[in-house]
Structures are given as structure tokens and as C-alpha cells.
Amino acid sequence: MTGKSGSWRTGLVLGGLVVAGLALCVVAVGIGSAFIPPATVAEILGYRLTGLGDPTHWTLTQDDIVWNLRLPRVLLAILVGAALSVVGVVAQAVMRNPLADPYVLGISSGAALGAVAWLVLGAAAFGGVSVGVAAFAGAVLALFAVAAFVRFTGTFSSSRLVLAGIVIGAGFTGLTNFLIFQARDVGTTNTALFWILGSLSGARWDQLLVPTVVLVTGVVLVMLLSRQLNALLFGDATAAALGVDPNRVRLLLYVVAAALTGVAVAVSGVIAFVGLIVPHAARLVVGSDHRGLVPVAAALGAVFMVAVDLLSRTVMPPEELPVGVVTAVLGAPAFLLLMARSTVRFGES
């Protein structure tokens, strides 16, 4: 990771992921209720991006499906997969805890409560904002509740933070379930459930701009803080001795992680497991140096999410599975296999 071979390896892994990811994207854009051959997809994309090619090779419907329906969805999968994985890396490093994931601070429960309240009570109760904004507000509310509780009731520590996050999250989830239960309307209940389990089906070009800006900025910021993340792995005292102010870096990373998670949840619901397993998988491949780990986790998370979304909308046609169901059903055994086969320990010291 630090030697020449390490950098090589990271570069190779990244290159492989990008190539595989691009190929997968072309396939994913082609597959769905109407199949479009990969070659045609490539032609359409090429024409849309560069203006080169012969538009008579495809129909207007095909162009519409590729460009307006499926491509935004694939791009959203890339953004959300990368963001959740990078937040997972950050959460695990900052808390020095292999169980940490983007949702450990109660963020997901808060976002779910916001979204479900919006769905059940109606947009009017929220002053007409979109469901995404309601979800984001819920995420921020939960995060502040957790942070304020930890800050004002004793000394700050990672374990207190995790505990408070889990407990406050459970309370929020209870409220969410209450709202769903008392709605007694099958349509609302289904929409709410679908949202809680995560979905990328809402992707449209006009809704991609804000998430793109936030998610890309956040991931780049985390990459810029790779050295500090490396230092934090050795504990606060050693971090200080290495010239890193542990409290300042931690605060900065919490804010970035909260923004990334809040936005990801706002656009795609609660997609479980990605932020937990992708960082570990990436660590197994390129090691714990965050200079390599962060970009590889981002790429791996993006590829994984595109693949999972493709599965979620093709295994049970014409029904679409919530993407969170697929991540958990596929992710759990894959992760156990990885854990059993590797000689690596998971965070024991």
C-alpha cells in the first residue's frame, strides 16, 4: 500500500473497477422491460455525448429509454454506492470500529421518519417541500439529537456516540412504524415501505444536480483527508504526535459524513449494508491506507450498486424489488464468505 507495489496494485484495482463498471453500465442501461442491445446503447450514448454516429440505427423510444429513464438511474446508483461506501470507510476509521456504517448515528432512521411523515401527513404539512428535503431534514435532526445528547450528558467517546445513535435511531424507527401503521391505507403503506427499504427508481435528470454536487464534493473532501484518516487509526495520542488534531478532523469528517448520508438517503431511501461491507471488501484488496482505500471503496461501491440495482429490477419482472432487499440478501453471504476465506482479522487489535 505504501511501497511501489502497493501503489501499482491500487492503480490496477481502480483501473479494473472503472473498466468493469463502464461495461456494466452499458449492459445495465440496456436491460429492463424493453431490452436494448449493448451495442445500440453504446451508440446512443456516444451520439448523445459526442454527436458522432448515425441516429437512424435506433428508434426515438430507445433513445428516450436509454437517455431519460435508465441512464439517470445508473448514474444515481453510482453516486449513492460511492457515497455510502466512502461514508462507511470514514465511520469505521473515525470510530475505530469495524461495525460502524453510514447509518450507525441514527441518520437513516431520522431520514426514514422524515420521508414517511411526508408521505403519511402529506406535503402540505411540510410547507410543500419535496420528500427528499423532508428526508434530509429528518437525517439532520437525528444527527443533532445524537450529537447533542452525547455532548451534553457526559464526556465524548466513540462508544457513547454509537450507543446513542442506535438508541435514538430505534426510537425514530418506532415513530416511523407507528405512522405507517396508523395510516391504514395500502397505497401509502406500500410507498413508505418501499422507501424505507431503499430504491433508485425516482432518478430523473432534473433531480440529479444537487446530489451530484454534494456527493462528489464530499467524496473529494474525504480523499483530501486520507492522511488524517490514516493517523486516526493509531488513536488520538498518536494522531496528535503525527501533527493531526484528532478532534478537529473528527468533527470535519462527521459533518461531511452526515451530509453525504443525508443526501444519499434523501434520493434513494435507506439502502442497507453497502456502507458496511464495501469498505471491508476494499480493505481486503488494497489494505488500510486511506489514500488507496477511499478511491477503491468509492469505485467498488459504485459498481456494486449498479449491479444490485440491475438485479432488483430484473429478478421479478414486472415487479421491482427494493434495492435494500437485494443488497442485504446478496451482501450477507458474500461478506461471510469473504470473512471466512481471508486470514485477515476484522478490526481486532
Binding site: 500500500m1 511501497g3 480523499m223 493509531f234 498518536t238 504526535a241 501533527g243 482479522r345
Partner: protein, 272 residues
């Protein structure tokens, strides 16, 4: 002109959670010397060292490095002047020995920079110096206590700083590893400040010893002046003989026999 002292500590006072941990601590660390800090548990040794590598903030007093107050230095610059091995470093995830040593280059690299050839050279050299080169790809979790401590020293050496701060580096190490580690510290050409429990190791490896008790300096000076039966009784509450080491001539502490101290019969003390 550079000051004669690498490190100067004056009137250092630290309060943590309303408790006074250090009270007007002051001493100097001459350039190129190994200075040991001894004292009973809870005397404030770790707090004092934490102030020097800026993990704990001090309320009053000052610490100057090369004549400059360390709080006025940017943290990264300070980390290029003072390297430290704190006590009980946790290892999160599967850091390899090479990862550990390479972390010493953190204060020297920019945000996006990979390790350059220069850094790699230093990392390789430090792996060799602390004799863990053959373990470079091993996970830290699989290391023995001695290997682990050497790797951590390697990280501090890779910081390439003129001042080395070590907090009880020989804890949990067997005799051979204790000696090997302190030998490595001794070979370090810069200045070292080491908290140390074992008085005989302190006497053997330190040029200068500072004695702390209840957060204050009791005395400081060369080992032969500091380590006296009176001091051991006052500060450490043990009765002991201090004899010259047969080879080095340095003071050697032999605590009084149990039997003499407590009047227990000889058979009991043999069983001990």
C-alpha cells in the same frame, strides 16, 4: 544560533477535569541527550509527555522547542520536530508493519501525495533499523509485544524528527527486548525524552533523570546523583540498596529483601 537545549519546560501546570495533574513542572532537555522521567504510578509522567507532543493542552507554563513555544508552531511542523510513541497504541483494522512505519511520513506528505522515493527510502531504512524488515507485510495484530513496540519505534523514527518522546516503551517486554529497544533509542542521534518504570534501565540508558511525584519535579540530574536510597524511600516508598553496576559503574537499585522488611520467615520469601 540554536539554543543549547533541545527542549525547555517551564512552570508547566495541567488540570484535567478539575484535578491538578502537573504543578509548575520545569526542567531542560539538553541537545543530544537521553533524558529519563521516573516516578511512581500517577505521578504525571504520561501527562507531561502528552503535553510535549501536544495531545494534552496545558493551562500555564510553556514548552519551548529550539527556543520556540510549541503552541505557536503549526501541528505539522511540530510533528517534524518531535516524534512520539504514546503508551498503548491501538491498531484498528489490519495495518501491516509497513503501514505502521509509513505513518511516520504523514507530517511530511501533502494531501494528495503518494510516498515519493525519498519517503520510501526512509521507510525501508527505519524498517531495517528497528529490525522488522522481515515482518513488513505482517498484520500488526499477529506481532509479539517486542515486535510491536519496535514497529512503533520505527514509525517514530520515520518521522525523522530531532526529538524523540517515548512513553514507557519497555512496558510488557521481556529483558532482551527491553535492552534491544533502549539500545535503539540510544543509537538515535537526536534528543530523547523517555518515561520509564524500570529504575535500572533508566540508570543504564539515560544521561539525565527527572523524578516526578504528585505532578511536581522532586529532583533532576545525572543517574548517580538522583538514584539514592533516600530518594527511593521518599518517592517510591521502598527500602533499597544502590550499588555501582559491576560493568558500567552506573547506579544499580536492589530493593531490600522481603524478610528484612517485613520480618516474614525465610521460608516464605524463598517461596516467593
Amino acid at each position: 544560533m540554536t539554543p543549547e537545549h533541545a527542549l525547555e519546560i517551564r512552570d508547566l501546570t495541567v488540570e484535567l477535569g478539575g484535578r491538578r495533574i502537573l504543578h509548575e513542572v520545569g526542567f531542560t532537555v539538553p541537545r543530544g541527550e537521553v533524558v529519563g522521567i521516573i516516578g511512581p504510578n500517577g505521578a504525571g509522567k504520561s501527562t507531561l509527555l502528552s503535553c510535549v507532543y501536544r495531545h494534552i493542552a496545558y493551562q500555564r507554563g510553556e514548552i519551548t522547542v529550539d527556543g520556540r513555544e510549541l503552541r505557536t508552531l503549526p501541528r505539522r511542523e511540530l510533528a517534524r520536530l518531535i516524534a512520539a510513541v504514546p503508551q498503548d497504541t491501538p491498531f484498528a483494522f489490519d495495518l501491516t508493519v509497513e503501514d505502521i512505519v509509513a505513518a511516520g511520513r504523514i507530517p511530511h506528505t501533502g494531501a494528495f501525495a503518494r510516498n515519493r522515493d525519498h519517503d520510501r527510502g526512509i521507510i525501508d531504512e527505519c524498517l531495517r533499523r528497528v529490525n522488522v524488515e522481515h515482518l513488513r507485510h505482517r498484520s500488526a495484530a499477529t506481532l509479539s509485544g517486542g515486535e510491536r513496540q519496535r514497529a512503533l519505534l520505527g514509525r517514530a523514527l520515520a518521522q525523522d524528527a530531532p526529538i524523540l518522546v517515548l512513553d514507557e516503551p519497555t512496558n510488557h517486554l521481556d529483558l532482551a527486548n527491553q535492552e534491544q529497544l533502549l539500545e535503539l533509542v540510544h543509537e538515535h542521534t537526536g534528543t530523547s525524552l523517555v518515561a520509564i518504570h524500570d529504575l535500572n534501565l533508566a540508570a543504564e540508558y539515560c544521561d539525565h533523570i527527572v523524578v516526578l511525584r504528585d505532578g511536581a519535579v522532586v529532583t533532576d540530574g545525572p543517574p548517580e546523583r538522583v538514584l539514592t536510597p533516600e530518594l527511593l524511600h521518599d518517592v517510591f516508598r521502598v527500602r533499597a540498596h544502590v550499588v555501582p553496576h559491576p560493568e558500567s559503574g552506573r547506579p544499580h537499585v536492589i530493593t531490600s529483601a522481603r524478610r528484612v522488611r517485613s520480618g516474614v520467615d525465610a521460608q516464605n520469601s524463598v517461596r516467593q
